[in-house]
């Protein structure tokens, strides 16, 4: 005889009712059917006929369920009803908005209850969303401060910088002053144009000399920025290129030196010993930085002195800012300046034949450098979010399968599909908000933690903070992802034919749309993870190679600091030379110092170059075709202090400043100019007209001028008197940890000049690290994201395979019953996992090829198509997939075939 209770339960869709009521009804209907059956038997029918009669007794299950549902309002619906009434009363405004709100409230309550019933699912989704969104919001907070904040001027997008470029060389630089005057006079597209020149001056702050960055500026610079002073006035056009000693203070310097004294106008400020009259104070928000370093703020402005009018046309030292005329597109300005540059090339072929003008939006000029690595980190964070979303979508789909019957029943009971979709979306929305809340916690904690190791060289790094827009982004991202990944399962659930869903077994099937979609998600996750891990391997590889690269010098036990000799005392080159010689001697004598020296540029700090002529060779008539050489000037034995090995000859001596004028060149220059010859004794000159021959006395190992990632340029070290410079770096080789000597060095400098500030005090290792820290930061974050992605993907694979094993119990049982050994079953399940992994790896490898093109510029010493990186990453992915598949495979192998076959 049939088990009527089970039979009825399968057919009567009562999911919406509370369990005890539904059970009673099922049992009651079953008891009736049984009586129909018995009565039929008693009336002499065959068991088959009786069974058929009983089964025919109920014609329309769905109608009956609907009727029962109406007869016994479920608790859920009565609560819903109350909620709707409550909302209506609250709003006292019957009509659409109230209904809409009531429905929303209702859906939210229903969703919350439904989510509470599945705590594991809910927690998993909320954590996944929180993690993915949190990572993105944290990166966004950095990106926002560094890149997205507008510059503090009105219409900042109209402000551009104008650079001089040489069409025959890459790179760009400031303008020459005569060029600036012609640009300004001849252009037709700019509303205002101004030139500046950075200056470092010392001021006395609380009795201690400190160096501050300022700028000499034309009056028109303030037309470009469009900002009026908070106090007093701006530099006047009639003060341009005169010897007016007036100064405008930044809000910052006004605060530091004058404690925001409103009576500051007319007072005197001593800049490197000279008296300037304060004429204005700029507002607090007006922050202008050096065009080279967006963290180096300009603290004061003074007019150019008259001597600027004598500046030669090939002395490129004047950053130029300009404001585009109204409605003038950038391209029009570029075309205009091209015209101006060409006419200057005609007028001054000697200096301007190859000179052109590069017009760059100021924002881009300041921040584009940091953009690359930050965008890459954001890209990695987005990949993590996508991968986490893959897991969320997988979970939602699996849940959708389980809830198919519930949804079908509710559709059968008359719930509109729109309403069901809305309810499921409300559920996604709730998940999103919870995920967003977790993300916010992670962001606040993450940004706090990140501040500790944010690279100090990142522009505007001090402004990184969690604010409303960051939180907004977090919530928006959560909502977007939840809706995006909730929509597909919701639509699918509502589209389902309820008849089919109710007929099907209660477990659903892993074949069909859901199974395919879930597997599709996992393949996508695998592919994205492979892209991310591959990129990470390349970045970490680049970092390690850079770290291990021989930079040509030894940064251990080195202390460096910078001094700028400004003011009346240092007007004379010889005075500067004597001062530096004495200072180096004094430092040399400090206990703990092995050796001291001074140089104009430390490694990685860039350089200044000039063209040379070589003795005995024809001089190229076009100066642009003469060899270019970086100029270094040294006091003391700089090469030994920095541990730069000599390849040939000897190091510089004091006597090299006179007589034969000895010079040490680098290996590259020796190889380029005298290949296969002995460079020692060869002569060259930086000027062509009246050559002052320098004699090569030594060849030093190459040291990169522009940073650890860059190649080396030709370089020549001269004794200080031959190339005197005002800004010099002190370099000390110490016995022990160099940081201990900072105070001693400071005292030694002050003892010689109480007004001379010491800046950029760093150890050799810090100096190297400063050039690595943006890369280190980006690499560390991307690695962290890659590890996260890998873990998430393993969870994803595990989920799909575990689900597969659960779904295929019967089939696995049959295989086992037919004699398949455990090993064979394990292989079968592992095979399923590895098929997924294989597909993902192939897709990912193609994606990785594309992605490495994007990060190509950030790689060092490792090719984006490095075979070992690809093989290693593919291997890693397959191992990860195997690990994730292993547990479900073991579970499959431990199945009891008898029980597996009984199920269903």
């Amino acid at each position: 005889m049939r088990d009527w209770t089970e039979w009825v339960r399968k057919r009567l869709p009562l999911g919406d009712l509370e369990a005890p009521a539904a059970r009673t009804m099922v049992e009651e209907v079953a008891s009736v059917l049984e009586q129909v059956y018995r009565t039929a038997l008693a009336a002499g029918r065959s068991p088959e006929e009786a069974d058929a009669e009983a089964r025919a007794h109920i014609e329309d299950w769905d109608e009956m369920a609907a009727e029962l549902g109406r007869a016994r309002p479920s608790r859920r619906e009565s609560t819903a009803h109350q909620a709707a009434e409550w909302t209506d009363r609250r709003l006292r405004r019957p009509g659409r908005p109230a209904v809409w709100l009531a429905d929303l409230l209702l859906d939210a309550r229903r969703a919350a209850r439904s989510l509470r019933r599945t705590p594991v699912f809910t927690t998993a989704v909320v954590l996944l969303l929180g993690l993915g969104v949190g990572a993105n919001a944290a990166v966004f907070s950095v990106l926002k401060a560094v890149l997205l904040k507008p510059l503090p001027f009105p219409e900042p997008e109209e402000v551009v910088t104008l650079w001089s470029t040489d069409v025959e060389r890459s790179g760009r630089g400031p303008a020459s002053f005569p060029d600036y005057l012609d640009w300004r006079g001849d252009n037709r597209t700019f509303e205002a144009m101004g030139a500046t020149r950075g200056v470092l001056m010392s001021v006395t702050e609380e009795g201690v000399p400190v160096q501050v960055r300022g700028a000499t500026a034309t009056a028109s610079v303030f037309d470009v920025f469009g900002v009026e002073p908070e106090l007093g006035r701006r530099i006047l056009p009639e003060e341009d290129a005169t010897d007016a000693r007036v100064v405008m203070l930044s809000h910052d310097l006004w605060t530091r030196l004058f404690n925001r004294d409103p009576e500051v106008l007319g007072r005197t400020l001593r800049l490197s010993g000279e008296a300037y009259v304060v004429v204005g104070v700029m507002p607090k928000d007006f922050v202008v930085t050096s065009p080279w370093d967006a963290n180096d703020r300009v603290l004061f402005w003074t007019p150019f002195q008259s001597e600027v009018l004598d500046a030669p046309r090939d002395s490129y030292s004047y950053p130029v800012y300009a404001r585009l005329g109204e409605e003038v597109p950038l391209q029009a300005a570029r075309d205009d300046m091209e015209r101006v540059a060409v006419s200057l090339a005609d007028a001054y072929p000697e200096t301007n034949r190859t000179q052109r003008v590069m017009v760059t939006p100021l924002h881009e000029a300041l921040f584009a450098g940091a953009g690359g690595s930050l965008m890459m980190v954001l890209g990695a964070a987005l990949l993590v979010l996508l991968i986490a979303c893959g897991n969320v979508a997988g979970l939602l789909l699996a849940r959708g399968t389980v809830r198919r019957r519930e949804v079908a029943l509710r559709v059968a009971l008359g719930a509109g599909r729109g309403r069901i979709i809305r309810e499921l979306l409300t559920e996604s929305g709730l998940l999103a908000m919870a995920g967003g809340a977790v993300a916010v916690v992670l962001v606040v904690a993450g940004v706090g933690a990140m501040r500790g190791f944010l690279p100090s060289t990142l522009p505007r790094v001090a402004e990184v903070a969690v604010d409303g827009s960051v939180l907004g982004v977090a919530l928006l991202l959560s909502l977007l992802t939840a809706l995006l990944f909730g929509l597909a399962p919701a639509l699918q659930a509502a589209r389902v034919s309820h008849v089919e869903a109710l007929k099907e077994g209660s477990t659903g099937s892993s074949r069909g749309w859901r199974g395919r979609t879930r597997r599709g998600f996992v393949v996508a996750q695998l592919a994205l993870t492979l892209i991310l891990v591959h990129g990470t391997v390349l970045l970490v590889g680049s970092y390690v190679l850079l770290r291990e690269r021989d930079q040509g010098f030894d940064p251990q036990n080195v202390l460096t600091a910078s001094v700028t000799l400004a003011g009346a005392r240092y007007e004379d080159d010889e005075a500067c030379g004597a001062f530096l010689r004495d200072l180096v001697a004094r430092l040399d004598a400090l206990p703990g110092v092995r050796q001291a020296a001074a140089v104009n540029r430390m490694p990685f700090e860039g350089g200044t170059n000039a063209r040379i002529v070589v003795e005995g060779r024809p001089v190229a008539p076009d100066p642009n075709e003469r060899p270019l050489v970086e100029r270094k000037t040294a006091v003391g034995d700089y090469l030994s202090v920095m541990g730069i090995p000599l390849r040939a000859g000897r190091t510089l001596e004091e006597a090299d400043a006179w007589g034969a004028r000895g010079v040490v060149i680098n290996q590259r220059m020796a190889d380029q100019l005298w290949p296969g010859e002995d460079p020692l004794g060869k002569r060259f000159s930086f000027g062509a007209d009246e050559p002052e021959w320098l004699t090569v006395v030594g060849v030093a190992t190459d040291v990169s001028q522009w940073g650890p990632e860059w190649g080396t340029l030709n370089e020549a070290y001269r004794a200080y008197p031959l190339y005197p410079q005002r800004t010099m770096y002190l370099a000390l080789k110490t016995e022990g940890p160099p940081a201990r000597l900072v105070q001693d060095v400071r005292r030694a400098v002050l003892a010689m000049d109480p007004d001379l500030p010491l800046t950029k005090v760093r150890t050799g290792l810090e100096m190297v690290n400063d050039h690595m820290d943006q890369r280190e930061f980006a690499t560390a974050l991307v690695s962290l994201f890659a590890v996260l992605a890998l873990a998430l993907t393993m969870v994803g694979i595990y989920g799909v395979i575990a689900y597969f094993v659960a779904q295929q119990r019967r089939e696995l049982g049959v295989r086992m019953a037919l004699g398949a050994g455990r090993g064979r079953l394990i292989r079968y399940v592992l095979g399923k996992g590895l098929t997924l992994a294989g597909t993902g790896v192939v897709v990912g490898a193609l994606g990785a090829y594309w992605a490495t093109q994007v990060i190509r510029n950030l790689l060092f010493g490792i090719s984006p198509t490095n075979v070992w990186a690809v093989v290693g990453v593919v291997g890693l992915m397959l191992v990860a997939a195997t690990l994730a598949t292993w547990a479900p495979a073991r579970r499959a192998a431990r199945l009891d075939p008898a029980r597996a076959l009984q199920m269903e």
Binding site: R38, D60, E67, A71, R72
Partner: protein, 109 residues
């Protein structure tokens, strides 16, 4: 024989009346309606049960499981409020039938 609307409107009164005599189970109620009406009124489980469920929800009847031999049957009995409901429905029914008779011109002896 009778339209479903007509049957639907009267099924509560029929069930209540049958339960007034003694507690009965659902199948019995269906069979009794069928036999007492001379086969002219039949209710399938699918329409009878929701009525029982509704009346139980309202508190007019009370269901209880009874073991009978190897079978479990759910018996319903009338509650006090069910009795009141029955009295109300009878009055309404009589008034309705009376009104119908008056209009259609027939009368009971």
């Amino acid at each position: 024989m009778f339209s479903p609307e007509l049957k639907k409107g009267s099924v509560e009164l029929l069930v209540l009346t049958l339960l007034e005599e003694e507690p009965r189970h659902g199948y019995q109620i269906g069979k009794l309606i069928e036999s007492r009406s001379g086969g002219r009124l039949t209710f399938r489980v699918s329409s009878l049960y929701p009525v029982l469920a509704r009346m139980e929800e309202r508190g007019w009847v009370q269901g209880r499981w009874v073991e009978k031999g190897e079978q479990r049957l759910r018996f319903y009995r009338l509650t006090t409020s069910g009795e009141a409901a029955l009295a109300r429905q009878r009055r309404t029914w009589r008034a309705f039938v009376g009104a119908m008779d008056q209009v259609t011109g027939q009368s009971h002896a």
